[in-house]
């Protein structure tokens, strides 16, 4: 998987305490029990850890982790 997937997995597992085996490309936010509050946290952490500015509203529109990684990749190249 991409650098972005590994970065995201790192945040989900170490900061938001999601079980590592749950973090798969096909998993939805519901699968890993991330609600709108967690999306705000994730947005803050993506900026802090990866320098990526992605709003929580944008994150909520990505259906799966795979889609979210794609958004991170897009932002990384345009940043």
């Amino acid at each position: 998987m991409s650098v972005q997937f590994e970065q995201l997995k790192e945040i989900l597992v170490t900061k938001l305490r999601v079980a590592p085996e749950q973090v798969t490309p096909e998993a939805t936010w519901e699968d890993i029990e991330l609600d709108s509050l967690a999306m705000v946290e994730l947005s803050l952490m993506l900026e802090e850890n990866c320098g990526l500015r992605i709003g929580d509203d944008e994150l909520l529109e990505t259906p799966t982790i795979k889609d979210m990684v794609r958004l991170m990749e897009e932002r990384s190249t345009t940043a």
Partner: protein
């Protein structure tokens, strides 16, 4: 008299004696003090505290769940789970709409507030966690308990400072009397051992400063007492109308047969010097229980180890009670669990009635000569048909529970 007989069918405890009823009761019966210098209070004027040992929230609640809960909610969920298992109630099969939750705390989640205030100051407003409010609000104590167990009946948190846990149990009893629900998870939880809160208590002059000998710092009713030692933890009881409990074949561990609640209306921190509020609460609990002062054989007193509380309370007990009951303050062991104290001590009183054992008051070397009460100095076997558990809060709020054998 409310005419309601309420059974305690389950008990759950998280205290400085340990996680669970077993280690908590063992610690108080052994009179083993838990106060120690707290590494988390390194820069504070007073560093004494009674911590819950070995509380691993990740292991007990799951890391993802625990991460989003302040410590005061974590304690309550663990205690509630133990109480429900003890009561033989299965949240998967009960009618949740008939299950209420009434819990008390003095503060909420100051640990979360202080941590996020550091973020605000050091990293700016944009970095403040969206979990700040849902983690620290006092009502989350009952809200999260409802979510954990699917209890969708009446749900509230009461705040009467250090009487909160007792107020919660009394309020739960009222809900059962009014048939608002059939089962209540009732108690209190507190996690206030934080630098800011403890600095505030220290500035009030409320804390013991016996740092050279921490184990002896919490010494209720002793002539040399100099303040309380803050503790943390939770106590949760499962309450049901006794007739209902017996009908479903539940084990009745004790009964909450009376509740007295009063206000001093005197001062923001000092008890009324003549103890009029606490005396009225004691008498009201007895009247509610349809009992006489001579029936009381044991009192789990508020006994904080402060000069004022212990003197006023001891004198009130002496005025009200006539049969020279065995008085104990388990705070000599546990420290002062603040909003959880009334619930944890009610649980200890139920255990005393159930097992015929009165725990000692740790660190009592010499009773304050102004007090004329019989304080239990050692673990004492005693048949107790009726006990009182008394609690008083800053703000002048008093709550007394009358607890009878099954």
């Amino acid at each position: 008299m409310s005419g309601i007989d309420v059974a305690v069918t389950g008990i759950g405890l998280v205290t400085p004696g340990g996680v669970g009823v077993g280690p908590s009761w063992a610690a108080v019966c052994e009179g083993r003090p838990t106060a120690a210098l707290d590494p988390g209070l390194a820069g504070n004027p007073v560093r004494l505290a009674c911590r819950v040992p070995g509380f691993d929230a990740d292991a007990l609640l799951g890391a993802r769940r625990a991460y989003r809960l302040d410590r005061f909610v974590q304690f309550a969920l663990v205690a509630a789970r133990e109480a429900l298992a003890d009561a033989g109630l299965d949240p998967h099969s009960w009618d949740g709409a008939r299950v209420g939750v009434v819990l008390g705390c003095a503060d909420g989640g100051p640990g979360t507030v202080e941590q996020q205030h550091d973020v605000l100051r050091d990293r700016g407003v944009a970095k403040v966690s969206p979990l700040l409010l849902p983690m620290q609000l006092p009502n989350m104590l009952a809200g999260q308990t409802a979510m954990e167990f699917g209890a969708t009946g009446p749900n509230l948190v009461v705040a009467t400072a250090c009487a909160s846990g007792a107020t919660a149990i009394g309020t739960a009893r009222d809900l059962l009397a009014l048939d608002r629900c059939d089962v209540v998870l009732a108690g209190g939880s507190e996690a206030m051992i934080t630098p800011l809160v403890m600095a505030g208590f220290a500035q009030m002059g409320a804390l013991s400063r016996r740092e050279d000998d921490p184990a002896t710092a919490s010494r209720p009713f002793d002539v040399g007492r100099d303040g309380f030692v803050a503790g943390e933890g939770a106590g949760v009881l499962v309450l049901e109308r006794t007739a209902d409990a017996r009908a479903r074949g539940a084990g009745v561990r004790g009964r909450i047969v009376g509740y007295g609640a009063t206000a001093d209306a005197h001062h923001m921190t000092s008890p009324h010097p003549r103890g009029v509020g606490v005396e009225r609460a004691l008498r009201a609990a007895l009247a509610d229980a349809d009992a006489t002062p001579a029936d009381v054989r044991h009192v789990n007193a508020h006994g904080t180890s402060t000069q004022l509380n212990d003197l006023v309370e001891a004198q009130a007990l002496n005025r009200v009670l006539t049969a020279d009951p065995l008085v104990t303050s388990t705070k000599g062991v546990t420290g002062h669990l603040l909003g959880a104290a009334g619930a944890v001590e009610a649980a200890f009183a139920v255990l005393a009635v159930e097992r015929g054992v009165v725990p000692p008051t740790a660190n009592l070397s010499r009773l304050d000569p102004r007090m004329d009460i019989g304080v239990a100095r050692t673990r004492t076997d005693a048949r107790v048909e009726l006990a009182l558990s008394n609690s008083c809060g800053f703000g002048g709020q008093n709550a007394t529970l009358a607890i009878a054998a099954a």
